[in-house]
């Protein structure tokens, strides 16, 4: 520990403290959590297939995509450890998805504000 301290003394700008955005305590997610999340994902899969056999009109697509979003969120937060990650990782992931949504929304806004099939 003494040597570690001396090292930091020479390179103070590299010192990592709890306030540093990259500071992280690597959290080991328990197998129990993985099992619960895996079971939830399988239940959602069975539900989305079952619901597709029910005629909900327009809402078949809405429900199926909503379930897909919930499943993806569970995978990102728990299997991909984002819930337990540093602020840097959380910010990176959030920025990426936000940019993706902006791109999709701008493109779709352009298309749906025209007459479908007549451009």
């Amino acid at each position: 520990m003494e040597q570690q301290h001396e090292h930091h003394h020479h390179l103070p700008h590299l010192e990592l403290g709890p306030s540093e955005p990259t500071h992280t305590q690597f959290h080991i997610v328990s197998p129990k959590t993985y099992l619960i999340i895996g079971a939830c994902l399988l239940i959602f899969t069975a539900s989305t297939t079952a619901i597709s056999y029910v005629d909900l009109g327009e809402f078949n697509a809405v429900v199926a995509l909503a379930i897909a979003c919930i499943k993806a969120t569970l995978v990102v937060l728990f299997f991909m450890h984002v819930k337990y990650s540093s602020k840097l990782t959380k910010l990176t992931v959030a920025c990426g998805f936000f940019t993706f949504l902006v791109l999709i929304t701008m493109t779709m806004t352009d298309y749906i504000s025209r007459a479908w099939g007549r451009w």
Partner: protein, 246 residues
């Protein structure tokens, strides 16, 4: 003693301050920082992948609204059981991969090997089901550019007798199948790359790698594998489910 003197004495800059594991690169302060940087880089790569698949999803949504009856008829020709089975295989494989990362974290070699092998088997199972489906589409003349025959989609099937498309709309089902093969094909390519990388990691892990604290390769491969799972989580409803009752 200051570090310059030490460096001069040892003749090896960077190795002077303290003991560190052999896998720690010199430009990192400690193992945690190195692991954090690798995770950050992996996420940046995965975000470019999200943009790439996002373009395909966007094209699918636009064309589906444009040639709606053709996309409904195309979707009706897929096997819903195959899509559900493949979704299940991939979700279970994501679970086994998460458990492999856990085994590496707690430094248990045999469970790490077992979970990796389970993930490889499930990934290959997915590819087998996918190959079966593609063969089926080939037999039905639904492969654009190779043997596509729109006449097969002009009259309803046994399951969907009302799928009567006009010849010009039946021709547009080729766009559905083009996007279907582009999206499932790119996804399957990612699966093949994933299974190959995991086989390489398995061979390294067999020799004892990744269970002595250096888990970044296993952890970042896990991120890749879960990402491929997420792509399929969206492909499944879009291709198979949302047009069942239209």
């Amino acid at each position: 003693m200051d570090s310059h003197t030490l460096a001069a004495q040892t003749g090896e800059i960077g190795h002077v301050e303290h003991e560190h594991p052999p896998f720690l690169r010199h430009h990192f302060e400690n193992v945690a920082q190195q692991r954090e940087a690798a995770t950050f880089g992996m996420w940046l790569f995965l975000l470019t992948e999200i943009m790439f698949f996002g373009g395909l999803f966007c094209a699918y949504l636009i064309f589906r609204n444009w040639y709606y009856p053709a996309f409904v008829a195309g979707s009706h020709s897929l096997h819903i059981w195959a899509g559900t089975l493949n979704t299940t295989l991939l979700i279970v494989s994501s679970f086994t991969m998460a458990m492999a990362v856990h085994a590496a974290e707690v430094r248990h070699r045999k469970p790490l090997l077992a979970w990796m092998i389970a993930t490889i088997i499930l990934g290959c199972g997915f590819l087998c089901v996918k190959a079966y489906e593609w063969h089926d589409e080939w037999v039905e003349h639904h492969v654009p550019g190779l043997n596509f025959n729109p006449a097969t989609l002009e009259h309803g099937t046994k399951a969907y007798p009302d799928d009567n498309l006009a010849p010009d709309m039946a021709q547009k089902t080729s766009i559905y199948f083009s996007l279907y093969f582009a999206m499932t094909g790119m996804h399957a390519l990612h699966m093949i790359i994933g299974v190959s990388l995991l086989t390489f990691l398995l061979i390294r892990a067999w020799g004892g790698a990744y269970t002595s604290g250096h888990i970044a390769p296993v952890e970042n491969f896990g991120l890749y594998w879960h990402f491929v799972d997420i792509v399929w989580i969206f492909l499944f409803p879009l291709l198979y489910l949302i047009s069942r009752h239209q």
